[in-house]
Every structure is written in structure tokens, then in C-alpha cells.
Symmetry: C2
Subunit: 275 residues, 2 copies
């Protein structure tokens, strides 16, 4: 396990529950020590080649870490857990990494808390874990990574790295920025404002508590897709702000599209909430 933050440590804890021998490394020794103290595995790198190295570092560091691990012959196969796939892959290719033994991965789990202290062995149970193999990926590498995902309790879902990044821009990266902008509009609020905050705004801003450095890294690694969707939402909001008084039809149209999107998301027919 290279990187023992929330995801890396949770993965290691899940593997330990399956009786797998795990080694923990983090560029921050305190993070690795905390993970080890939580029972996530043995501190330090293994002395001989292991089956799988899981690279659990921010997207911008994946290629460099993969290159270093491969140069040291650390493992037979490699995977990562980054929220963006195309840019790290392009960097890995440019760095001369062996892409036949590497399968990109991304578990649909996390939380607004981070670090090894927040880790749990069941973080991935019944979650989707996207895997983005290439045509050059070795069959045994893909099998090994799929087995590994299965041990965490997650369901592997194969897709291209391009589809992955296009989709998570919409389902995760843009929502993070929108929730952050909403929460930012409450920064500096006084007590009277807070007393009029209900459950709605609390839910809508929960993910805005995420780690700033990690999310800056994620958003940059998927900038093109995120920018496109975010611009559309910004235009929607600016347009409604402009026509709120003059054109109730436009406001109602946005709310109706919101109803549809929400119904789809939770698997209900639209309009069920309007009794």
C-alpha cells in the first residue's frame, strides 16, 4: 500500500480481514505509523516482490509513484485508486511506465473526513469500484486486480478511462465544486443566519468539507470535463438569477429538470415527491 490516507488505510484494513499480508508506506511516516497502529499491516516496504501494489496517492502523483515502484520491481501488478484516470495514465505512458501490469482503479467511496484515523474496513462494501484496463493490459493483471477489489466487498465495473473521467466529472467532481460554492456563500455568516439553516442546506453542503489539497489535485486532473459541465451549471444559475422576477417559467423549468435528475438518481419516477 503506497499512501495510507483514508482510502489506502481502508483498503489495507479490508485486505487484512481477508488474511492478506499487507505492507504500508507513506511519504508521511506518521500517517503510515497510524495505519500500522490501526492494524492495517506491516510498516515499510516488502523485501521481495509482492503480488500487487496499490497506489493510493493523489492523481498528480500516480505516474511518478508507479514509475518508481516499477523501477524497484516492487510488485507483479499495479493499481491505483485515483478519482481521475486519463491524465495520470498519459503521464505514466510519457514516463515510460509498463502499462501491461497496471490497471487504473477508482472506488466510489470516501467521505468528507480524510486520513488513516477515519479509515474503516467496510468503506467499500457494496460500492462500485471502477476499473479502466487498456487493450494492452495483461489478463493476469486484470484478474489479480479484480480479485483484490472483490476482497474489499466492492463490485468491479470495467470501463474506459475516458468514459470514467467524463462520468465522474458529472457525478462527483462538479458536485464537489457546486457544494463548495454553496458552502462558501455561508462563510462569514453570523449566528442569526445559522439559526435559520435547516437540514436542506446542511445536506447540500456536506461534501464541501473535503480536503482542499486533495480536491484541488483531483479537479485539475479532470479539468476539461469538469469545466464543461460546471460552465453549463453556472450559465443555468446566472440565467435564473436574471429572470427570477420576470420569467417564472424559466425557474419552474430548472426546478422540473432538478426533479427529473433527482428522481433518476434515487431510482424513483419523477414527481413522486410532489404529493
Amino acid at each position: 500500500m503506497i499512501g495510507t490516507g483514508l482510502i489506502g488505510t481502508s483498503v489495507a484494513l479490508a485486505l487484512r480481514e481477508n488474511g492478506v499480508r499487507t505492507y504500508l508506506h507513506d511519504r508521511d511516516p506518521a500517517a503510515a505509523a497510524t495505519a500500522a497502529a490501526r492494524g492495517a499491516g506491516v510498516l515499510g516496504l516488502p523485501s521481495s516482490m509482492v503480488d500487487l501494489a496499490v497506489i493510493a496517492v493523489p492523481p498528480s502523483s500516480i505516474a511518478a509513484v508507479l514509475a518508481e515502484c516499477q523501477a524497484n520491481g516492487l510488485a507483479r501488478c499495479y493499481t491505483d485508486v485515483g478519482s481521475a484516470k486519463t491524465e495520470p495514465l498519459a503521464e505514466a505512458e510519457a514516463t515510460g511506465c509498463d502499462l501491461t501490469s497496471y490497471v487504473g482503479g477508482h472506488p466510489m467511496a470516501g467521505g468528507e473526513r480524510s486520513g488513516p484515523v477515519a479509515a474503516t474496513a467496510d468503506l467499500f462494501r457494496d460500492r462500485t469500484w471502477a476499473l479502466t484496463p487498456l487493450t494492452c493490459t495483461r489478463a493476469d493483471a486484470l484478474r489479480s486486480v479484480m480479485d483484490f477489489v472483490g476482497m474489499t466487498g466492492a463490485r468491479p465495473l470495467l470501463m474506459t478511462h475516458v468514459d470514467h473521467d467524463r462520468i465522474v466529472a458529472r457525478t462527483s467532481h462538479v458536485p464537489h465544486l457546486v457544494a463548495s460554492a454553496l458552502a462558501a456563500s455561508l462563510a462569514g455568516a453570523d449566528a442569526s443566519v445559522l439559526r435559520l439553516c435547516g437540514a436542506g442546506v446542511k445536506d447540500a453542503t456536506r461534501i464541501a468539507a473535503g480536503d482542499v489539497a486533495l480536491w484541488t489535485d483531483i479537479l485539475r486532473a479532470n479539468a476539461t470535463e469538469v469545466s464543461k459541465i460546471l460552465s453549463e451549471i453556472a450559465t443555468d444559475l446566472a440565467s435564473v438569477a436574471h429572470s427570477l422576477q420576470s420569467d417564472p417559467g424559466e425557474v419552474a423549468g430548472l426546478l422540473r429538470r432538478g426533479n427529473s435528475g433527482r428522481a433518476l438518481l434515487i431510482g424513483e419516477p419523477a414527481g413522486v415527491g410532489n404529493g
Copy 2:
């Protein structure tokens, strides 16, 4: 109780638990009948003057309903539960309503579900209930409405109608539109998109399921304040969309402000989530 939707019926159920005799009226007879069947009170208007009439209709109907109730001598005091206060008040004044017996009100409770079927007696327990008396408000009217709020389990909070509308624009109306725009960006998504939706986007879009007609009415009634804040958020998002690749400092700045707003909202020191 004039209007037996989610809020009106929940209020009536709470009053019934306090042994108060309640009468139920709704322009939709089926809604009133459903509320009565749920034990919220007696169907129909009272035959003689009652202590308090609670007007639980959308903001744009409040003034007309208040005028009609007062013309019929329905009650000694009046309150409402509308999410916007200034515009209905101006309309009531223009219509010639008696404002000395009327206290504007707004409970900080609700839900993405609506209608009498979703009502519960404890909807307001420990919630803030804003009251916006005027200098001309009769002392006995304010006392009567404050007693009534206490019976629902909510905590009355007195403020001016101008402060109220300015604050709820930020804490409720703008969040509703932002969540709707985010949910709208998922409308028409296919199954592969939905499989990559985690808890984050689900929480961030929960309130987007709200009733379209009611929310169009609320947002129009507070259009000036809502437009101002919504424009700022739209500008924030457009700016980040534009600079995502070129200026990570701006993205980090927005995320940091989001951290601050969120920390304030849940009463935590900022940065606690970044372990």
C-alpha cells in the same frame, strides 16, 4: 388551519396532541379530507370566531387568504407559515388587511416530500420558527402566536421581515436552486452514470425533489435577495470553470472558503475534516 399540505397538516397534528380543537380547510377538498382522516382536526371552517387562524398556503396566496379570513371575522389573530415574508406583507397592506392582528411566521422545517400524507406531529420539534411582528402588531396577537409556536415544539425567533428574507435567501432559497441545477445536470443520465453516483451527489441534490409549483412561488416572492446571492455563486462557478487548468490557486481558494462555510454551518472549527 387554512391549507392542509405538509406544513399545515403537521401543525394541526401537533396542536391536536396539545388538546387544541382544530378546523381544517383547503381549496383542494381531498387534501383537507386526507388531513382529517389522519386525525388533524374537524373538516370545514368553524361556525364562530376562533383564537387563531394559521394560513399555510404558498407566499403568493397569503395576502388574499388573510383578507378573506379577516372579512369573514374568522379569528382573533392570524399567522402564516410562508418561506418569504416581505412581499406577502406588502400585498396584505395594499389589500387593506388589518396588520395589528397578524404575525408573519416561518418554521425551519419541511422536506422534499409534500402533502398531508407526509405530515407528522413532531416536524417542528426543536426547530427554529421565525416570527416577524411589526411595530403595530398587537401584544396579545404576538403572545397568542408565540404560545402556538411553543405547542408545536419549535423555538420562536423574532426578527424583522426584511432580515428574515435576506437570511433565508442564503440558507434555503439559493441552496434549493443550486441543488436543483446540480440535479438537473444529471437528468437524462444513463445507467453507467448512475452506477458512479456516490453518497456525496445524493446528499447534495436531496432538496431538488421539492414541489415545483410551491418553490417557484417561494423563489419569486423573494426574487431580489435570491438573485443577488445566486449571481455571486454563478460568477464563482463560471470563474473556476474558466481557470481550472490555469490557476489552481483560485480553485483551492473556493474549496477553502467552502471548508469555512461548512465548518461554520455544523459548528466545527475549519479544517477539522482534513486529518
